[in-house]
Every structure is written in C-alpha cells, then in structure tokens.
C-alpha cells in the first residue's frame, strides 16, 4: 500500500532527534511492548510480512506522532484482535479509554502463490528497472525507486516474497538482489557522489 511508512525521500521532517547515548528502553512499558509483540507473533504465527503490514496499516497521524515502541504495541494488539485472541472492546475496557488499532487490510488474501523461483534472472552488473506499480497490500519495494533504473551489485539468495506471505498462508520464494541507484537518477536534487542501495525481490524488477 502507498502508506505513511514508506518514508524514503519525503521532505519537511526537519532535524533528526539525535542522541549518541540513549538507553535501550526509556520506560518499562517499552520493554513490555517488545516482549508482548514476541508473545503475540508466536501465538498467531505471524510472518514477517504480516507483522510489518500490521504497522503499515496504522492511521497515518497516529503513525507519525507515536514512537516505534508504540507501533509495536499497536501491531501486537491489532494482530491479537484480528486472530481472535481478544476483542477490541476488551482492550478498551481494560485500558480505560481508546485503544487505537491499525486499519483494515486492503488487499485480498493470496490463494495461489505460484511456484518458487530459485534461478536468478539477473547477474551482477545487469541494469534493471523497478516496476512502477502500486499494490494495495504489503510490499518491500520502496516508492522512491519505482520506475527507476539501477545496477545489480549483489545476489542474496531466494527468500519468501513479503507481498505474498503478508496475505495468507501461501508462500513463494524468489531471488533477491541489492540494486545500486545513483541519487541523481532518483531525485532532481539528488546529491552528487551518492549511491543508494535497495534490496529487492525478483518480481519487483524488469530488465532495463
């Protein structure tokens, strides 16, 4: 989905709230959110794709104004409700107020994933173009490289396609590649001497 999580290249965010020394958990509830996410993900057997998509479906205003530990909390609660471990009403009754969950899945379940692909279509040095598409579900193809041309710099083996595993029990394996883009090809104001590398599944790419 073209969601608020797809942040690469967006403008207007200002300074990074950088601190060289920062505790892992600033509050106990952050460690609890971390632990409870592990508990829920195991209980519902969520794939990495399904878990990430449960964060991506957060209401954009909530996403931008909450910390990542709150994203994990929202994901854990959303998956717990969607898999029937508890109801939204139970959560709100216990919390004594609103408990915002992520929005609904927009993509239909994937029934047939098709056969696994293990033979890479591309080799190091090949020029590839990223498909210009806008799937309604989960994808790991960042918006800022869609339609752009880059060069394959590394082959990383075959892995489950996130776009499929996020939407049901079907799975398909595909080769992945690290693709190098010249920043000047990504943005008109791209900085000189900057290479941006993005790791992409085979079906995101076409020969250039």
């Amino acid at each position: 989905m073209d969601g608020i999580h797809d942040l690469g290249g967006l403008q207007g965010f200002g300074e990074v709230g950088y601190s060289p020394a920062e505790p892992v958990f600033r509050h106990r509830w952050e460690a609890m959110a971390r632990a409870l996410l592990i508990v829920v993900a195991r209980a519902v057997e969520a794939s990495g794709g399904e878990f990430r998509h449960s964060i991506e479906r957060m209401e954009p205003g909530h996403y931008l104004t909450s910390s990542y530990y709150e994203h994990w909390l929202t994901a854990a609660a959303t998956l717990a409700v969607e898999h029937g471990l508890m109801t939204h009403a139970e959560l709100e009754a216990r919390a004594g107020g609103r408990f915002p969950l992520s929005g609904p899945v927009l993509a239909p379940p994937v029934a047939d994933a098709g056969p696994d692909v293990d033979a890479p279509r591309f080799a190091v040095g090949d020029h590839v173009r990223v498909r210009e598409w806008h799937p309604p579900g989960h994808t790991r193809c960042p918006g800022y490289v869609r339609g752009k041309t880059g060069t394959v710099v590394r082959l990383d083996g075959s892995y489950s396609v996130p776009d499929i595993e996020a939407h049901g029990t079907a799975r398909r394996r595909e080769p992945t590649y690290s693709v190098r883009f010249d920043a000047a090809d990504l943005w008109r104001d791209g900085q000189r001497g900057v290479w941006v590398h993005v790791d992409l599944w085979d079906s995101y790419l076409e020969r250039s």
Partner: protein, 197 residues
C-alpha cells in the same frame, strides 16, 4: 461546562494500553513467567553494540579475519558467537578515506540486532528514514559527521533480508592497542555510519 458537544474519548496512555494487552494475554496463558524481565535483561545487557565492537576490533587486529568478514559477514560474525534473528544474513561494508557507508531502513526499523541490539529511537523516527536516502551529505553533517566534499557516500536501505554493519576505519595512533582496547573505541554510531572514529 454544559455545551453538550461530542468530546472524543481520549486515547489511553501507552502504559495503560500495554498493561491492558499484558493482562488479557496473561489470562489466556500466553505470557510465560518472567518473560518480560528476560527480554528486558537480554536487550539491556547481552545484545548490543558491544558485540559489534568486538567484531570490528577483531577485523582491525586480524587481516585474515577482516577478509572473511567482508566476504561472508554472517559466518565471520558467527565465529565470535553472534547470530540469530535480524542477523541471519549479514553484509559488512567497509569505510575508507574516500568511501563512507551508512545504513537506514526507510520502510520500518530493520537493524542488525545480534551485533547492535535494538535500534535507537532516532533511527526509527521519520526524519532519519526520510532524509538519509535523499540528502545524506547534509544529514551526516548535521549529525556531526564531517566528510570531505568529494567523498563517495554509499547508503544501504535494509529493504529485504540482509542486515548491514559498517566497518569503520581504524583510528591512527592505535597500533599498540590490544583487541579489547580497540573494541572500547568503537561506537554504535560508527557502525551505523552516522559518525567516524
């Protein structure tokens, strides 16, 4: 105060929402005894940048280890006993006087847990994720990382299964140091690539 308007019910503070989720999961028998304390302890004292620092110090001290580390990061990091979730497919990228590497995850918060621990808040927040791919030269300077104007910058967006670790340059004047002393020089931020040593 009797306008009678529809005031939305306020969102509960995060602490209350976490407590609610914990209570409901515990009632269903899903939270093992001591699990939250175990996770807290693990990420506060076992899994963190001190692990990555040992990898970097070994690479500085042993050229053959460095060669293995750059050729197969996962296996070489495994030699020191580090591995597991978010560290199963490691690629180590080397800084030189002319090349600077920096890692980011524009889509979420991917980060090499076994060697760096959980990521700092700023790494996961929108400004870093939005800007590091588009204006790394500006952002690195803002964060105090000064590079020569003609240095090549390589940004690595962790968008699939690989997790990256930056191998910083060994600081001059450290020839006599032991490996343990070298590890003490290595910062988390130098291994993300937002600072140089």
């Amino acid at each position: 105060m009797t306008e009678g308007g529809h005031h939305p019910v306020p969102v509960s503070p995060a602490e209350q929402r976490v407590a609610a989720l914990e209570a409901l999961l515990t009632e269903r028998g899903l939270v093992p005894d001591g699990f939250i304390e175990e996770i807290t302890r693990r990420y506060e004292s076992e899994i963190g940048p001190m692990n990555g620092a040992k990898v970097v110090a070994r690479a500085w001290a042993d050229p053959r280890y460095k060669q293995r580390l750059l050729a197969d990061g996962t296996a070489a990091i495994g030699e020191l006993g580090f591995g597991g979730p978010e560290g199963d497919h490691m690629v180590v990228v080397e800084n030189t006087p002319r090349v600077h590497n920096v890692i980011v995850c524009t889509l979420c918060s991917c980060y090499p847990w076994p060697v760096l621990g959980l990521p700092p808040a700023w790494y996961k927040d929108p400004p870093y994720r939005a800007r590091m791919v588009r204006e790394p030269r500006t952002l690195l300077a803002e964060m105090g990382c000064q590079l020569p104007d003609d240095a090549e910058i390589r940004v690595w967006d962790s968008s699939a299964e690989v997790r990256y670790l930056v191998l910083p340059e060994r600081p001059p004047g450290t020839e006599a140091m032991t490996e343990a002393e070298l590890a003490g020089l290595v910062t988390r931020d130098s291994m993300i690539g937002v600072s140089r040593l």
